[in-house]
């Protein structure tokens, strides 16, 4: 295989692995702040209620610590791969990308990493207020981080606010670079994706605990928080996703054509539920279509015109992966909508008693623990593959900035990274399952035992977080 494909695969492998963990830590940071705040508010008046919030906080702090660590290490790898895989990228657009990445590290990365220690291990060493503030800074830092990163990514999709002199990009207006046309949509879409991923993580782990008969104090409450969050946010996400699609139609019509599998520019374009787009023969196989619907969704008119892939010459992205990734994302989104609404309705009717919930539904929720990952990664594949063959849309080609490292070397390191990442994802899921199955009493007991021995602090993440 040639070096370009290998370099892209390696970068894709790393960025796919990386995005899993920020997607969890962005939303979970705020949820932890919420759990902590509920505990603080109720601990004096309603000790039984407070205990549930504290247990939830303890358990999900460990999930957070683990996710955060995986996000940090894969993020470090990314900062190197910009240079190892795409040396030409920074040489040409460094004046735009550099400050944005720099601000991300300076304002966000340090904020998170600096306060994480206090958030995880600082309890009892600082006041409740400072501890809550540290938790806030960690949550705020993760969100701020995505602000800068998504500003840069969106600029690569819809570049504005720059001028090109001798092939080098120079910034004319920072506000135009940061608030480029696709940024507001992509940022909102990603923030909601993170919140939904966390909502289903909460729903899934709580359901698993209920099925296994553990976590009696916290799981019912966590399930309710997760279901409420999901049921409220998924319609918003579908609405925002639609706006994002319309924005893409305006600025990157080739990506839309690939998502919809449209070859020839046409009016009354049908919505394809299934097809196999064939880039060789430039047509679709096995189409299952609803007439006029694509035109209706995208132009809000049944006879609206949509540009086909053929009108872009050779400069269009490969339709096959985009077509399927898009359908996977939308499909998971629809499943999230149906399951969270049904779940919330039934749970309310059951008067928030989890044992009165249908077990089949709890099993479905447990199976959907990581459904947010699937939808998020599929969505990113649509947007990133959809930008090809450009790295900066319409201006810089990916092939022109790739490194000259021999392909054998890239292949070797790719194999090493992929092996490591697969092993780590398996370990992550296995450890989450193992932690979820531990009874709360055991966790509490462990916490107390550790507090009583001189090795009290010796176990990160298992440090007792609450007072007795």
């Amino acid at each position: 295989m040639d070096a370009l494909i290998l370099a892209r695969m390696q970068f894709a492998a790393n960025i796919t692995f990386h995005i899993l963990f920020p997607t969890i830590s962005i939303g979970l940071g705020w949820l932890l702040l919420f759990f902590r705040w509920r505990w603080l508010k109720s601990k004096d008046d309603q000790p039984a209620l407070a205990q549930g919030w504290l247990d939830a906080y303890r358990f999900f702090t460990k999930v957070f610590a683990l996710s955060f660590a995986l996000g940090v290490v894969s993020g470090i790898t990314m900062s190197f791969q910009f240079g190892t895989n795409w040396p030409g990228y920074m040489e040409r657009v460094g004046n735009v990308a550099g400050p944005l990445l720099g601000f991300e590290v300076l304002t966000a990365f340090f904020l998170e990493a600096g306060f994480l220690g206090i958030m995880l291990f600082g309890h009892g060493k600082v006041s409740e207020r400072v501890h809550l503030l540290a938790t806030f800074f960690v949550a705020f830092g993760t969100s701020l981080s995505s602000f800068w990163i998504l500003a840069l990514n969106s600029w690569m999709q819809t570049p504005t606010g720059h001028e090109i002199r001798d092939g080098i990009f120079h910034v004319v207006s920072w506000s135009e670079v940061i608030f480029n046309p696709s940024f507001p949509y992509r940022f909102t879409h990603m923030m909601l994706a993170s919140a939904l991923t966390c909502a289903f993580l909460l729903i899934g782990l709580a359901s698993w605990q209920i099925l296994k008969g553990v976590g009696q104090r916290s799981a019912p409450r966590v399930l309710r928080v997760g279901l409420t969050l999901a049921a409220v946010l998924i319609p918003v996400q579908i609405f925002v996703g639609d706006l994002h699609g319309l924005n893409t139609l305006q600025h990157q019509p080739a990506k839309i054509a690939a998502m919809e599998g449209i070859w020839e520019t046409e009016r009354n374009a049908p919505l394809l539920l299934f097809a196999i787009p064939d880039a060789e023969q430039r047509k679709n196989h096995y189409e299952v279509a609803i007439p006029n619907l694509a035109s209706l969704i995208l132009t809000h008119k049944a006879d609206g015109e949509i540009k086909g892939l053929n009108s872009f010459g050779v400069d269009h992205p490969p339709p096959l992966p985009i077509f399927f990734a898009f359908r996977i994302m939308v499909g998971v989104g629809m499943l999230m909508l149906a399951s969270s609404w049904l779940g919330l309705w039934l749970y309310r009717r059951a008067n928030w008693q989890p044992q009165r919930m249908p077990r089949a539904l709890l099993w479905l929720f447990a199976a959907m623990t990581f459904s947010g990952w699937v939808a998020t990664v599929a969505g990113w594949y649509v947007t990133e593959i959809g930008r090809q063959p450009f790295i900066v849309y319409g201006l810089v080609r990916t092939a022109d900035v790739v490194s000259q490292v021999p392909s054998s070397m890239i292949g070797l390191t790719l194999a090493m990274y992929v092996t490591l990442y697969v092993a780590l994802i398996v370990a992550y899921v296995a450890v989450l399952k193992y932690m979820a199955e531990k009874p709360e009493e055991t966790l509490e007991q462990e916490a107390e035992e550790r507090a009583a021995t001189p090795l009290g602090i010796a176990t990160p993440g298992m440090v007792p977080e609450g007072g007795r």
Partner: protein, 334 residues
């Protein structure tokens, strides 16, 4: 005297910032990588204390690497491509090492007890792999990525010496942060690592003038050599003081912080010597900082961010170290 214009000075400022970030990284991650490499010599209970002593800090320590490489990437994009292209494989190995170590750290306490040993081994392996790769990279970098049989041999020597320096830092950290048996063993570990570190330092000091005439002329000219001799002299005195302290009773009492602080001084001096040798090159004798720098406009924007955020970073880093000050065994939750 001719002063540089502000635009000309910008790359110098960023070179300094990058250097300082890397120095802070090497010192701070140096001690926690060192602790990781000492893990296999400790009992299970000691392992918990060792991990606890670095627990609140390692995330933030590694962030300095991201900042250092980030500045290389954003302020000197041409050098970033050249340097990382040359170091492709060791960089990949270092990243895998850092990944293994970072995750093993969190997994070991959350996984099943039967799996804890495996994660401990991975923690040790990851720390070692990352340190050895960094040593190799340092060796290649200070010798200007030269070709010839002697260059890889030199890089291999540094690939052994730098981990030893980290081990010494790690041991000094443990002397400062622990008590009892573990502290006693940390003193013994420090004694073992002391000589290899000294040899490594001498090797690096000799290698740069040997491969580069620029460096040779800069160090061995009168009257500079007299002023400059302060650097190796102070380094030597500090290292000898560390060795002497390791035999003293006070190192396990009220002077337990001194070896760590002296080693810190050694790293700072070594860094100053290296900076004096290499400046104004990013890649020795190949690429100067002005040739490699981004446009002044972009650098100014980043500089504003640096001026606002670096004091804040310094502030909360100090706050965090204050919160977790004292012996680790006293750090228990109350």
């Amino acid at each position: 005297m001719n002063w540089m214009s502000f635009d000309e000075a910008l790359p110098v400022i960023f070179m300094a910032l990058m250097g300082v970030s890397m120095l802070i990284y090497v010192i701070s991650d140096g001690y926690d990588l060192g602790v990781g490499m000492l893990m296999h010599r400790a009992t299970p209970a000691e392992k918990d204390v060792m991990i606890a002593s670095i627990g609140p800090f390692w995330d933030a320590n590694e962030t300095w690497l991201v900042l250092g490489v980030g500045i290389l990437l954003i302020a000197f994009p041409k050098a970033h491509g050249l340097v990382l292209g040359q170091l492709y494989l060791p960089v990949a190995l270092m990243l895998i090492g850092l990944t293994l170590r970072g995750v093993a750290f969190d997994f070991r306490v959350k996984a099943r007890d039967t799996h804890k040993t495996t994660w401990d081994r991975l923690f040790f392996a990851g720390s070692t792999l990352a340190s050895v790769s960094q040593g190799w990279m340092l060796g290649r970098f200070v010798s200007g990525f030269g070709d010839g049989w002697n260059y890889p041999v030199f890089a291999a020597a540094i690939a052994v010496a730098l981990p030893m320096a980290y081990v010494l830092m790690g041991a000094a950290w443990l002397i400062m942060k622990t008590e009892g048996d573990l502290q006693q063993r940390a003193v013994e570990w420090a004694k073992i690592a002391w000589l290899p570190m000294l040899i490594g330092l001498v090797l690096i000091s000799m290698a740069t003038p040997w491969v580069s005439e620029t460096v040779r002329n800069r160090w061995f000219a009168l009257p500079e050599i007299i002023a400059l001799s302060a650097i190796p002299l102070m380094t030597g005195v500090s290292l000898i003081a560390v060795r002497a302290l390791l035999n003293a009773r006070a190192v396990r009492g009220h002077l337990s912080w001194l070896p760590f602080v002296l080693l810190l001084l050694v790293f700072v001096l070594g860094f100053l010597g290296l900076a004096y040798s290499i400046y104004p090159f990013v890649v020795l004798d190949q690429l100067t900082i002005w040739q490699a720098a981004s446009s002044p406009a972009a650098l100014k924007v980043i500089l504003i961010g640096v001026c606002i955020s670096v004091p804040a970073i310094a502030g909360y880093t100090i706050f965090s170290y204050r919160v977790f000050r004292g012996k680790t065994t006293e750090l228990r939750y109350a």
